[in-house]
């Protein structure tokens, strides 16, 4: 919370400080994909705490109750469901200020035995869905001539771990996607950036052997797991109204590059 400290005179006891809390996203409408779990849930809570209205999108039912949380159940791997979702949003929220593309699926498997269906699911959810969500949101943002699109990527792009061929390729593609959308959307003041996160305790990470993740983390320039604040810090930077000149950028946490 941004805390605006007011200082008032209070008789002989001198000065008394009171705090007024003003959320930095007051009045903003934010879309968070994958809002039920992991990074999406973390960022949903952050934006709600900071005063935003959050349109959360997940395949399952809502697991967040808040008067400013609007849950939409949709399978983002299905393009028609994304289009239908935005038909509804045009009638309800009408404007979108910030989009967080965080929904993702990871199947970590040696390429020789990776099922085609698992690879296709990753392509659909990790690459096609962010494109379609960004595209549909940008149609609303161009009317307001303002917007922030932030894609969540991964250290896997840089570290290229065995088993993550398709996942890492999708995330690498996400950066290219962001950079080109940044050019196309610049005309209406919509920025598009990417945050490459390192390991953080999420349901997705729990699928992987902890000792292997520990070993990867130990080799990072800053050898520790990411914290919620590490992620929120960069999201706030990209989402800030002051960041209108920041676009087509990728920031990796922990010194990964």
């Amino acid at each position: 919370m941004l805390r605006h400290w007011l200082t008032t005179s209070s008789g002989s006891s001198g000065r008394v400080e009171r705090s007024l809390s003003v959320g930095m996203y007051e009045g903003k409408n934010v879309i968070v994909t994958g809002s039920s779990r992991g990074i999406g849930a973390l960022l949903t809570r952050h934006f709600l705490d900071e005063g935003a209205t959050v349109v959360g999108i997940a395949r399952g039912p809502a697991n967040c109750e808040h008067q400013r949380y609007l849950h939409h159940q949709a399978d983002l791997a299905v393009p028609a469901e994304i289009q239908q979702l935005f038909v509804g949003l045009r009638k309800t929220v009408q404007t979108i200020d910030i989009v967080i593309n965080s929904a993702a699926v990871l199947t970590s498997q040696y390429a020789l035995i990776m099922p085609a269906a698992a690879a296709q699911s990753m392509l659909n959810l990790n690459l096609l869905a962010p494109f379609l969500v960004a595209r549909e949101a940008a149609k609303l943002m161009r009317k307001a001539k303002s917007g922030r699109i932030i894609n969540i990527s991964s250290m896997a792009v840089s570290l290229e771990p065995e088993g993550d061929s398709v996942y890492a390729a999708c995330k690498a593609g996400l950066t290219t996607l962001s950079n080109i959308l940044a050019k196309e959307f610049a005309a209406f003041n919509v920025t598009c950036n990417t945050l490459g996160i390192t390991a953080i305790e999420t349901d997705m990470l729990k699928q992987l052997p902890h000792d292997k993740i520990d070993a990867v983390v130990a080799r990072l320039p800053i050898p520790r797991y990411a914290t919620a604040d590490d992620i929120v810090n960069v999201i706030d930077f990209y989402a800030s109204e002051r960041s209108g000149y920041i676009t087509a950028q990728t920031i990796y946490l922990g010194g990964v590059h």
């Binding site: 289009q83 239908q84 038909v87 045009r90 009638k91 149609k139 161009r142 005309a187």
Partner: protein, 99 residues
């Protein structure tokens, strides 16, 4: 059944939205013969994209149907739907008339 006059009004609305962004001398005339794409068209590619997005969105909102004006069907028409306002309206009416 979509009415051609209603569709033409949707296209005009998209052109009016575009004109709000353009300087006076670059504004697009609103007429059934207005060229949208091709050698004599007055719209640049970004302006045409803007018109397409507005028209697709309005058709979706007003008719409850998502149509794509840039898919293979549109691009392989003998006469480009974007030749002028009338050809675009005719194409949209045909698309809405199909299932």
């Amino acid at each position: 059944m979509a009415n051609k006059d209603t569709i033409i009004e949707i296209i005009y609305r998209a052109l009016r939205n575009l004109n709000e962004e353009l300087e006076d001398e670059k504004r697009i005339a609103l007429s059934p013969e207005t060229k949208l794409f091709g050698p004599n068209a007055t719209l640049d590619s970004l302006s045409l994209v803007s018109v397409i997005v507005d028209v697709e969105t309005a058709v979706s909102d007003e008719y409850g149907r998502n149509i794509s004006l840039t898919d293979d069907t549109a691009m392989t028409q003998a006469v480009s739907p974007f030749s002028d306002v009338t050809t675009l309206a005719d194409y949209i009416v045909r698309q809405l008339g199909q299932g």
